[in-house]
């Protein structure tokens, strides 16, 4: 996917570019409003990751510009301001997602994957990975063509793992993906442990390889190596 990142904090942008490039995306970064508009005049992007507070303008205006040019690009807002109004306004003018800083790179990556599926496969894509087949729209998972009954959270967890294959995903990254920003971490870690235990158990029961590896003291990794 071709991605434009509009964010004035350079070292933050670098991290995003590095993580996403490793995932095989083509990333371009600009650090202000005018450069972003200029880039958008000449090139098309599959997805635009945009900060709202830019030194010379508002990220919301960039979104309006994109939507006016009726480009089909996916849009993810990243903002330090977790304000409900901004979020609602952003979604209303056509953004796909709103991430509050600090966010996990794995989370951004998962959102990009989902936008990619929406744009290129109308959201009906099957994720097939070795013996695992995930039907996204039906919320169904098959291992060796046998259906595995997963709960909602287990399903979300599996999709998140598959979206971030071979990456170490921290506990807090997973917990925030499942529960959002305002859950006490102590709660979420307990809960997370339960979910992963159950998910792993269900997959192993159907003869699936044990892809979900515990990285001791850090988190988990969907290891395909």
């Amino acid at each position: 996917m071709k991605i434009l990142i509009v964010e004035d904090e350079k070292s933050l942008t670098d991290s995003v570019v590095e993580y996403l490039s490793e995932e095989g995306h083509i990333c371009e970064a600009v650090y202000n409003f005018n450069d972003a508009i200029e880039k958008l005049e000449f090139y098309d992007y599959d997805c635009i990751v945009v900060d709202i507070n830019l030194p010379d303008g508002s990220g919301l205006d960039i979104i309006r510009h994109v939507k006016k040019a009726s480009k089909s690009s996916g849009i993810i807002i990243i903002s330090a301001r977790n304000s409900l109004e901004n979020r609602i306004e952003g979604i209303e003018i056509g953004a796909d997602n709103y991430l509050t800083k600090p966010f996990h790179l794995a989370e951004l990556n998962a959102h990009l994957k989902s936008i990619n599926r929406r744009i290129n496969f109308n959201g009906n894509e099957h994720i097939i990975y070795n013996e695992i087949k995930i039907l996204l729209s039906e919320h169904a998972v098959f291992v060796n063509d046998k259906e595995v009954k997963l709960t909602k959270k287990e399903f979300e967890l599996l999709v998140f793992f598959v979206s971030n294959k071979n990456k170490v995903i921290t506990k807090s990254g997973l917990a925030e993906h499942l529960w959002g920003d305002y859950m006490d971490m102590a709660d979420s870690f307990d809960f997370l442990y339960t979910h992963i235990k159950n998910l792993r158990g269900k997959l192993l029961k159907e003869g699936c390889t044990d892809y979900i590896k515990t990285v001791y003291g850090v988190g988990y990794k969907f290891d395909i190596s």
């Binding site: 509050t100 600090p102 909602k152 921290t170 807090s172 709660d187 850090v218 988190g219």
Partner: protein
């Protein structure tokens, strides 16, 4: 006691005291004055009588006037002659009552005989006069006092009205409501000064407060950007293949710590926002629906802990509050009830017209019941717990005027949200 009542009472007691003694003194002065008059009149009479005796040679003189009487007796017939002015009482036959008289006794010589002469003058009429004057005076005094009191009270009340208005407005003033703080103008200088000072003060406080709020919010937001950088760099570092286990653990620990910091920051910011009532828009909320969706969200955990969920959604209740806050409120309570539940324990949710009770099994807490909602009060030493979950619950309830209580009974922890006052 109100200042006005106090001054009125003081004023009243002082005037009553002064006028009471004043009227008594007035009575005696009047009495004295009248006696003086009568005395002089009688003195005149005396000289008249002497003259008449000398000229008329009559031994007893009785004037036609009922109010006056003169008795002349030879001195040797009087056993103990009294001289000078005296008061005495006579029984007056035609009026059939005792009447006070003023008496003047003197001795005069006539034809070498000494006579004892008594002049009596009725005091009845003068006494009546005095009483009448006295009554009129008293009435007048009371009229004056009442009139003064009414005037003073009326004018004071009008002036103090401004003051009471000010007090009422200050009492109802809420710096978070951002409404205009205006006070009535007064024609009393002191009150006008007071109001001006108060307006200036609230303006300053408002400004300071909003500056501080802005500062806190900006600081919190500004902290998020460097935290994002730290987090991302470490997340990238974690992906690195050439870290040994020890290094990986160190990075992960640092990562979790900075994550905790940013979470804490976010949560404190949320608390501040709730406190500042920055979630104004309210909707009609069905708590049962929210609780059901939370239970669905947490079904795996409920299943895993073999928790027995008992719902008593007997009465359908609706609450009016911000949807986002409603979700946080109930999800915090439900999560709390699941996390601190025992394996195979109960989770009982009761909703009624006046309250919602969420109860879960567990052992008694070591900490004080009242302090359970305090910020950073954790009963476990779990470092990952922010200790803010129940503080948020309480803050939300406070903003909407609900009461939230914790109780422990029959091995059950009860959290009660009482909104009966609110309805």
């Amino acid at each position: 006691m109100k200042l006005l009542t106090k001054t009125s009472l003081n004023y009243l007691s002082v005037t009553l005291f002064v006028f009471m003694f004043g009227t008594i003194a007035f009575y005696f002065l009047l009495r004295h004055q009248v006696n003086q008059n009568i005395n002089t009149e009688m003195e005149k009479r005396k000289s008249n009588i002497v003259n008449q005796l000398l000229s008329v040679h009559t031994s007893v003189y009785t004037p036609s006037n009922q109010n006056e009487k003169v008795i002349i007796t030879p001195l040797n017939e009087v056993p103990a002659p009294q001289l000078n002015f005296n008061d005495t009482i006579f029984f007056v036959k035609n009026e059939s009552k005792y009447v006070p008289f003023r008496q003047l006794c003197f001795i005069t010589e006539f034809n070498n005989t000494k006579y004892y002469i008594q002049i009596f003058k009725s005091l009845e009429e003068t006494d009546n006069l005095i009483v009448r004057i006295f009554l009129i005076m008293t009435l007048l005094v009371f009229l004056i006092i009442t009139a003064l009191l009414i005037t003073v009270r009326h004018t004071s009340l009008r002036s103090w009205n401004v003051f009471y208005d000010t007090i009422k407005k200050i009492k109802n003033y809420d710096i978070n409501l951002h409404n205009e703080f205006s006070l009535k103008e007064s024609d009393v200088k002191e009150f006008d000064d007071l109001n001006k000072v108060l307006i200036a003060m609230t303006e300053r406080i408002k400004k300071d407060y909003s500056n501080m709020k802005e500062y806190t919010e900006n600081a919190s937001h500004e902290i998020q950007t460097p935290l994002s950088i730290i987090n991302m760099k470490m997340e990238l570092l974690l992906q690195s293949q050439n870290l040994d286990e020890k290094q990986l653990k160190a990075v992960a620990d640092a990562y979790e710590a900075s994550n905790r910091l940013s979470k804490l920051n976010k949560t404190l910011l949320l608390l501040a926002k709730i406190e500042n009532r920055q979630f104004p828009e309210s909707k009609s909320i069905n708590p049962q629906e929210i609780i059901n969706s939370q239970l669905e969200n947490l079904e795996d955990l409920i299943f895993d802990k073999k928790i027995n969920v008992i719902k008593h959604f007997d009465e359908i209740t609706t609450l009016t509050l911000n949807p986002f806050l409603a979700e946080i409120l109930f999800s915090n309570l439900v999560k709390n009830a699941i996390r601190h539940n025992t394996n195979g324990g109960d989770l009982i949710i009761k909703t009624s017209q006046n309250n919602i009770i969420i109860s879960n099994s567990g052992s008694e807490l070591k900490i004080d019941k009242a302090s359970i909602f305090e910020r950073f009060n954790k009963q476990s030493s779990n470092p990952e717990s922010t200790g803010l979950g129940l503080a948020i619950v309480q803050k939300i309830c406070e903003v909407y005027g609900y009461k939230v209580n914790y109780d422990f009974e029959n091995n059950l922890h009860h959290f009660v949200i009482d909104f009966s006052n609110f309805k």
